[in-house]
Symmetry: C2
Subunit: 152 residues, 2 copies
């Protein structure tokens, strides 16, 4: 059974609009390890089609950053948990974003599922760096690098 990274947070950290399981109105982005690439985490999210950017048909760039942030935070937490020797079902550490840098490579369409892929590139104590990308219709639309800080 897949345990999503976000299911491993305690209740008081489960309110994120993007990925919190207790946010009833949110998107509940659910990240998990990719069975075919054990160090990579993936998630799929389909933001509401009303979240357009300047041109109708393109996704709001802010949403691109937002979903990369959520998935990267989850990947950081799960990666740190692994480093600590925890199982993939144990409660995991929690991380907050210290920095997020997004490169927008091409417009992201609205109304389609977005595939998020992330991997921790380095862990140094409480600092976890995560590289991620966003794909839509088979094309990479954006990449990101985040520095996540384990706070609990």
């Amino acid at each position: 059974m897949t345990t999503y990274f976000q299911d491993r947070y305690p209740d008081n950290y489960a309110h994120c609009y993007g990925c919190g399981r207790l946010n009833q109105n949110g998107w509940r982005i659910s990240s998990s390890w990719d069975p075919e690439h054990p160090d990579q985490a993936f998630a799929v999210v389909k933001p509401p089609a009303e979240l357009t950017g300047g041109w109708a048909g393109n996704l709001w760039g802010g949403v691109v950053a937002a979903v990369l942030d959520c998935h990267s935070a989850g990947t950081a937490a799960a990666s740190k948990a692994r480093e600590l020797g925890l199982s993939d079902q144990d409660e995991s550490p929690r991380c907050v974003t210290a920095s997020l840098a997004v490169d927008y490579l091409k417009p992201t369409p609205v109304g389609v599922p977005l595939r998020l892929i992330a991997q921790a590139s380095s862990i140094d104590g409480r600092k976890i760096w995560v590289d991620a990308r966003l794909e839509a219709e088979g094309e990479v639309c954006a990449t990101s690098r985040a520095l996540m800080i384990q706070v609990v």
Copy 2:
């Protein structure tokens, strides 16, 4: 009379959920020059309180990136317009985000107005770099640097 930067886009570029005047459901972030600091642009936005981060009471980090992005894009367009000798009422160029790097300095509270301040640090042809910050309750919660590309 203040003309907001986003009022200077043509209709086909006015659909952004964050700042488009024609997006009926969006937030309509409205950026303008600061009379006291002529090279700085400011805007105020109060995202819906349901957009929490992991902990209830903190704003979703994705929203922080999103509103900085909108305000920086508007500031880039208005700054480029000035460089081109256009008046502050003329239709302005349009810019898209090539990269956005956000540093999260402290949690941003939900349910309060957020003040956005931005300034173009450099313009090189179609490339416009914009530095910005987000303040809540008088404190700087995040800073950003964006590279905006003038596309029209």
